[in-house]
């Protein structure tokens, strides 16, 4: 069973990836944000010696039934639901528009989980806000070889 620090390491590792995914791919930002939150929650569960968590169902049950995790519950369940569905959609951008990532996915869901976990495990990881990658706009036809014909 992984310990707190191993989960913290993977939490930060996944978090770094969130910042590298272009905002044109909100579905994968959501998915990576969820797995960032998952390791934050697993760090907390390891800290509290909550064992026998072997699947999402067990983890969700723990998050819902342990009063100490009340501030984590709603944002975690929201991210879980969102990430489990968005990957299978033919039009994920309609379900999770890029415009909601900063406000609802990061500020509204991931950060509250991270802040609460840090308090509960007594560690300040000095996590900054995630700066999303905004890809440069696709070059117009003026710069494409075809346009110079």
């Amino acid at each position: 069973m992984a310990n707190v620090q191993q989960h913290v390491k993977q939490w930060k590792h996944n978090r770094e990836l969130v910042a590298l995914i272009p905002s044109t791919h909100p579905d994968w930002i959501v998915t990576t944000a969820f797995y960032t939150a998952l390791h934050a929650v697993d760090a907390l569960l390891a800290f509290d010696n909550v064992t026998r968590i072997t699947c999402h169902k067990d983890r969700n049950m723990a998050v819902m039934q342990i009063n100490r995790y009340i501030k984590i519950r709603n944002p975690y369940l929201t991210l879980h639901d969102l990430s489990r569905k968005v990957r299978y959609l033919a039009d994920p951008g309609a379900w999770v528009p890029a415009g909601v990532i900063e406000k609802d996915v990061l500020s509204g869901s991931l950060y509250p989980i991270e802040n609460s976990v840090q308090k509960l495990i007594g560690q300040d990881l000095e996590l900054g806000r995630i700066t999303l990658v905004i890809p440069p706009k696709a070059t117009g036809s003026a710069s494409s070889p075809a346009a110079t014909d």
Partner: protein, 163 residues
């Protein structure tokens, strides 16, 4: 004694057949059905079957109470377009369709509260998972034909893309 004679005997005068778990656990019990099927069970199996039947009845009652509660809960929330329910492995999954074409974060917050409440108030049902699915791609997640309709609009079968 012929079977016709047995049928004529009024039930009130007949002694019950008693199966005691402590004495009859290994005792064979032979059951003759009217369709000539013959069932041979041990006393223990007969008692376990009765327990299971009671368990299923209690589960169904609690499940019905839960779906009634969800129906009322949903009626107060105009952001909900429809709700369906389906078993998924050992859990019951509730699929809520928001009225918006995108994931509704405010509704998600309320659904998380609902999820925790259902686990607490309808614990006999077991694990319940609550989530949102888009109307336009509902059939990616729910088999509408076999899912239990709870409330709201009903999509047409095999709906692939909203028009």
């Amino acid at each position: 004694m012929s079977s016709s004679n047995i049928k004529k005997k009024p039930n009130v005068r007949r002694k019950p057949i008693r199966i005691r778990e402590d004495h009859d656990a290994d005792r064979p019990v032979v059951l003759h059905s009217t369709s000539d099927d013959l069932f041979i069970r041990t006393g223990k199996q007969v008692i376990e079957s009765c327990r299971l039947s009671i368990g299923i009845e209690v589960w169904l009652d609690e499940f019905k109470s839960m779906t009634d509660y969800i129906k009322t809960w949903s009626a107060d929330r105009p952001s909900i377009r429809a709700c369906f329910c389906a078993p998924q492995g050992a859990k019951v999954v509730l699929f809520f369709v928001p009225r918006s074409a995108h994931f509704d974060f405010e509704l998600a917050n309320e659904l998380a509260d609902l999820n925790a409440q259902l686990l607490k108030d309808f614990s006999y049902v077991g694990m319940v998972e609550v989530g949102q699915v888009p109307w336009a791609e509902i059939d990616r997640f729910v088999d509408i034909d076999s899912a239990r309709y709870i409330c709201g609009e009903r999509p047409t079968a095999c709906q692939a893309v909203e028009t």
